[in-house]
Symmetry: C2
Subunit: 228 residues, 2 copies
DNA sequence: GTGCTACTGTCAGATTCTGGCAGTATCCGT
DNA sequence: ACGGATACTGCCAGAATCTGACAGTAGCAC
């Protein structure tokens, strides 16, 4: 196995262990000496991988992905850039910042002439969606990722308000509004909640009892049946 | 210089020369022997780089970009995926396909658990934009890239039709409509053309007399002055 | 302090990379 | 049909790099 392959392997191995792993354990798993492991870690860190080592504990990889060298066609890069620009204009601040960062990272490694092409790119995205949510969608995405219950006050189309506790599992981006898709404990059914009608968001540490992907699948099934 | 750096250098060098370059010339430019160059080319091709060699001519790189190994945070990948999904739902078929391809390429190199996360991703994009253009926006993008004049029939807001020859330099993606931004030869000024009002598109081989980026810059200046 | 671990320096041996050479195949213009 | 230019492959010895082992320092937890 070549060195560069091994470096990717190391990243993946680190990803599998969420708890800190000792260098010795990693070296054993990869079939290399501890000395070489230290060198590999240093190389990866040099390439920007967020690996942290603490004496007496071991190594942890902060969440993230390492993409190997990848070839994109002209139009594929245009599509990615256009898409990221669109995301960057969404009112979700955290996601928007992430999109901008991703673009910056890509631009940073491109040769000069390409970077100029990107900067002066000819694909433009319209003005930011007008609606501004009063809540932090970043918290919602976090709750989705961690499968945590979410509480909030919801004002429905008729104006009636109600307290909800829901199991959020998806976020929909439409023209004007963002929609939280969740299982509603009150209604005991799937419900959509427009983000601009949510207030008083309460994040919790309570894990909801089902897997996010199972909920998503079930919800999709209910969508397909009664073809609207 | 390490081998992996040199491989990226080779790609960039190939990009600079649009005409076929002989292996010897490339080897000289990189300061390596021709034998090593052949090995490097083989390695790159093995990694998916679209390099073509023809006996008696030399090497050409089909347009595209090679991204070096890159680290993305959780949210950055989510942003890229969401953005690409949005592009994939746009009515521009070529761009939409490119977005889907880019996503597939990224998914292909991700470890299994991450690919599942992506597939069952929790960020959804609304239904495809309703409006369907009668013209192929791919042709427009191509004209923009190559700085070619474009002819078409335009039906303005009042319903009046006119023949136009324009110098297109940007494409805007709004909620519902796509807009071609161009210098209009008839009006001798910058004009926006809604894609759904364009018909009878005529691509030409006639290069327009100004640089695309200069037009873009000038157009932006006219936008900023009279704050609407 | 003791035990565990991250990290660095050094050096010899293993591994890989590189350049040169010889040879084959393919395309092009004449 | 021919010569010239070039892509491409196999082989091998020397150069460069990588690797493992050992010795040593430093931080943290008990």
């Amino acid at each position: 196995m070549s060195r560069s392959e091994r470096l990717l392997d190391l990243i993946q191995t680190l990803r599998r262990h969420r708890r800190p792993v000792s260098g010795q354990a990693l070296a054993d798993e990869l079939g290399i000496s501890i000395r070489t492991l230290y060198r590999d870690i240093a190389t990866l860190q040099g390439q920007g991988a967020p690996i942290e080592g603490e004496a007496g504990l071991g190594y942890v990889l902060k969440p993230g992905f390492m993409l190997p060298p990848l070839m994109f066609s002209d139009e594929e890069i245009e599509a990615i850039v256009l898409g990221s620009r669109w995301v960057a204009k969404q009112p979700d601040q955290r996601l928007s910042a992430a999109a901008a960062n991703a673009l910056a990272k890509i631009a940073a490694v491109l040769p000069d002439d390409l970077r100029e092409d990107l900067d002066a790119s000819t694909l433009l995205v319209g003005p930011p969606a007008a609606a501004i949510e009063g809540i932090d969608l970043g918290l919602v995405r976090q709750a989705i990722r961690n499968e945590r219950k979410l509480g909030f006050l919801y004002r429905d189309a008729g104006g009636a308000a109600s307290e909800r506790v829901v199991w959020p599992f998806a976020l929909g981006f439409f023209d004007k509004v963002r929609v939280v898709v969740a299982w509603c404990e009150m209604r005991q059914d799937f419900r959509h909640f427009r983000a601009d009608r949510i207030s008083g968001l309460n994040t919790t540490d309570t894990r909801y009892p089902r897997r996010r992907q199972a909920l998503l699948k079930e919800w999709r099934a209910t969508l397909d049946k009664p073809r609207s």
